[in-house]
Amino acid sequence: MGEQMTEVYLNGKFVGDVENSSSFVKNIIDERRKGKLTSNLNVFHDEKNNEVLLESSKGRVRRPLIVVKEGKALLTEKHVEQLEKNEIGWSDLIQHGIIEFLDASEEENALVSFNEEELTPEHTHLELSPLDIMGLATSLVPYGNFNQSTRLNAGSKNQKQALGFYAANFAVRMDMDVNLLNTPQMPIVQSIIHEISDYHKHPSGQNVVIAIMSYEGYNMEDAIIINKSSIERGMGRSTYYRPALAEELRYSGGLIDEVSIPDKDVRGYKSEKDYRYLEGDGIIYPEAKVNEGDVVIGKTSPPRFLSSLDEYNLTSNTRRESSVSLRHGEKGVVDFVMITENSEGNKLVQVRMRDERIPEIGDKFTSRHGQKGVIGLILPQTDMPFSASGIVPDILFSPHGIPSRMTISHLIEMMAGKMGCLAGRTIDGTTFNSENETEVRKELLSLGFKENGEETMYNGKSGKIFKAKIFIGNMYYLKLKHMVANKIHSRARGPIQLLTRQPTEGRAKEGGLRLGEMEKDTFVAHGTSLLLKERFDSDRTVVPVCESCGFAGFHDHYKNRAFCPVCGENVEINDIEISYAFKLLIDEMKSLCIYPKMILENKY
């Protein structure tokens, strides 16, 4: 018996056997690199199962790698020069077998070197760049190789939520719910990806002076303290855009919505004051300062049920009010008004509101290292600590955020940012390929600062020197899209649901905050029985209950006496306070032909 034959599969189908599998695989790879076989083909030699799997189907994830032969990368300085001169392109490199794409299975046979320096004769491939292991957003984290992976994750996730300059044509766009940072900047500490991705065209943060210190406890638990004067100078200001739209819908019977100032006899007419900003065409004018409840687009709709009842109807005009107005708690300035037609040919009115958002307590900020936090205090510059040279930080960051999270890159960025700021240049902080930290320290020293980035600082309130040296530097800070103005919510009284008479749910509906099952248990456990009752009083109703049949009766206001629909007037009927939800339950049982009889008795 000779050598065992190896089975070959192409795209999952058996195509034949080969005798010498390794030379077969080698041949295919060579032919592919020569360009004789399609570059889409991948081979996987499964030695364990004695199989060769060829794949050329679509839908596989593949990544480019530099081919290595005898411990030397095929991509040489010459190629790079040619690339720079635009003499050759990416496709040429692939055609010549210098760079090839591997899929997940062929990767199993490859030994990929991370760096060119680490190449050995055993290696088959070389990463294009060590940065290749990370995605776009993650590559934007400077000095990322000094971090724990979870922090890199958090850092890149936070960057996606940062406010910035999302599109240059924002002025003519009608985006829902967008934010623009008013004065975005490029970071001082960058990575090469910032350059590659044209980050200067859509930056999303600002360079700030940050000191790592506590201040009267207002930055504990990840909060940050912000310099009030910095905000007044424009730091972290953004604009929030939200459009309102109204469409003239067509109904059966040739009826149509109408954009106009509603007449006073329209059903559901608000008040004259609410319509005061509307112009003759029923649409608000640009630059109008609107507040909650103000109508932005006036609109009326035809009556809902067009029935025979019309003849008996006394009011001739039964059109309904269906204007678009500002929701509870919203304010802004009308930015842009547009009147068009939609695809069905209906008149479409869009109004974009703008609202300047000045940082306030509770707004969320982050650095690029997963060190997010909300503003805990806005402190006047006069009370902020200052350095010997008179520098006042914009942000005070709590030192407790550092040890457990081990975001060393955060610290290095501060130092590198400080150095870059003083030297007037940007710093390359590309992960795995950054400017050396010790060099940065040296340069900082040569600029007349302590090489560890610490400075003598003074208490802003007393003017006394701090015993400890404070680590202070510059870094890139991002304002995140979560702002309190969009989330703040409270309720004392408000709307209730029609069916259950319980408070509505959710901020948009001005809803209540539910006292849930477990919260209820705490009241019971404390024995505060009457307090618990009071809490659950939101849907209480008084029901007149008939003593003889146990059904709910009703109160006859004409005769001013209670009445039982079953037993009539001459029975004893007593008012009982129960929750409306229970009344509903009883009604539902009745509809199921269950007789839920309420037996009344004196409690004491």
Partner: protein, 377 residues
């Protein structure tokens, strides 16, 4: 002084009295003793639970909250034969649900001296373990031509278990019908089908069946592990059979236990089962490094065993025993309870918490419990 002790015997629990006795100074005036007793009694009375205190809910919260922090651990024995035991939340759920079949039944067998000092410990352990034919057989052969099964015993293990081939063939004769069984050589037993038209399938089935023929040991004990705990040798087993284990005279009947609560209930009765529930739950909680007052667990165990039977905290157990229809319906399967109640005409007296929350009435707990009556002039 003895008179005083007798006087307070009824007012104070026994263990307080005994600890008082121990700590009482030698020469002390009887007036001072009386003072001590009075103070103790006062302290004892104030530390009692107030009337109207919602003990059940507090117990539920006190056990429930730490349970959320429990890990789904199984506990491993680093022994020759690896055993693992469900602990953590799954085990607590298992106990409180009063499952009849628990996932890892286990026994802790204490031995009488001299065996507790390590005498014959391995032998005893081996003799307890349930042994089947499979455990001492080298191979099972099926002879298709003769429609027979040949069992080849492993001489090593037969010696270890102390079973001879004659014993094996006798047991087989007792438990397998329709086959002629004979010894066909050293450590070989042949089973030949008696009938002519026996299908091969049937023979195969018999082969599988005789693998499980019980030979020796105690039924239900699948694994044994002799260990040394605090200078004493004992045996931990997987699988339980309390009744049969207690019959062995080498076993210390006073301390040997199982973690199967129903077995304890059947052998020792409800009081022991209650104690076992407390012990088992407390063991899990302690194991997780959590701290729950034992009285909460005792309350749960009490509610599980008041009826004289073990009822789980489930819709078939404790909840089904609730008086209020609304309370039962608000737990699980509401339709079932409402239909039943409407058919039998049940009356809900609104005497407990859940019903009153539903109706928005003050719950009869704490401040909602006492009623005030004023004379109206």
């Amino acid at each position: 002084m003895d008179k005083l002790f007798k006087e307070y015997n009824e007012k104070l629990p026994a263990n307080i009295i005994t600890s008082l006795k121990e700590k009482m100074p030698k020469n002390i005036s009887s007036a001072n003793v009386k003072k001590i007793f009075e103070l103790t009694l006062k302290e004892y009375e104030t530390s009692k639970v107030e009337a109207g205190e919602c003990v059940g809910l507090v117990a539920a919260e006190s056990i429930g909250e730490p349970s959320t922090q429990m890990t789904l651990n199984t506990f491993h024995f680093a022994g020759v034969s690896e055993m693992n035991i469900t602990t953590g939340l799954p085990r607590i759920i298992e106990i409180l649900d009063a499952r009849k079949k628990i996932s890892t039944p286990m026994m802790e067998i204490y031995l009488k001296p001299p065996y507790s000092k390590g005498k014959d410990i391995k032998k005893i352990a081996q003799s307890i373990k349930e042994t089947t034919l499979k455990d001492m057989t080298k191979e099972f052969l099926i002879n298709i031509a003769e429609l027979s099964i040949e069992v080849v015993l492993d001489p090593k293990s037969t010696k270890e278990f102390g079973v001879t081939d004659t014993v094996v063939s006798k047991t087989l004769q007792k438990s397998i019908k329709g086959y002629s069984i004979r010894k066909s050589g050293d450590n070989k037993i042949t089973l030949k089908a008696k009938g002519k038209d026996v299908s091969l399938n049937e023979i195969y089935k018999t082969k599988e069946k005789i693998k499980g023929v019980y030979l020796k040991g105690i039924k239900g004990i699948t694994q044994v592990l002799p260990i040394k705990r605090e200078n004493e040798f004992m045996i931990i087993t997987a699988g339980t059979n309390l009744k049969d284990i207690l019959k062995l005279d080498k076993v210390d009947q006073t301390r040997t236990i199982t973690n199967d609560i129903f077995e304890i209930y059947n052998v020792f009765g409800i009081e022991a089962a209650r104690q076992s529930i407390i012990g088992e739950v407390y063991k899990v909680i302690e194991n997780q490094g959590l701290n729950v007052d034992i009285r909460h667990i005792m309350l749960v165990a009490d509610t599980m065993s008041v009826t004289g039977m073990i009822r789980g905290i489930s819709r078939y157990g404790v909840v089904s025993g609730k008086a209020s229809v609304l309370a039962r319906a608000s737990f699980e399967t509401p339709l079932k309870h409402i239909i039943e109640a409407s058919l039998t005409g049940e009356i809900d007296n609104l005497s407990s918490v859940v019903e009153n929350v539903m109706l928005n009435q003050p719950v009869p707990v704490g401040t909602g419990l006492p009623g005030l009556i004023t004379k109206v002039k």
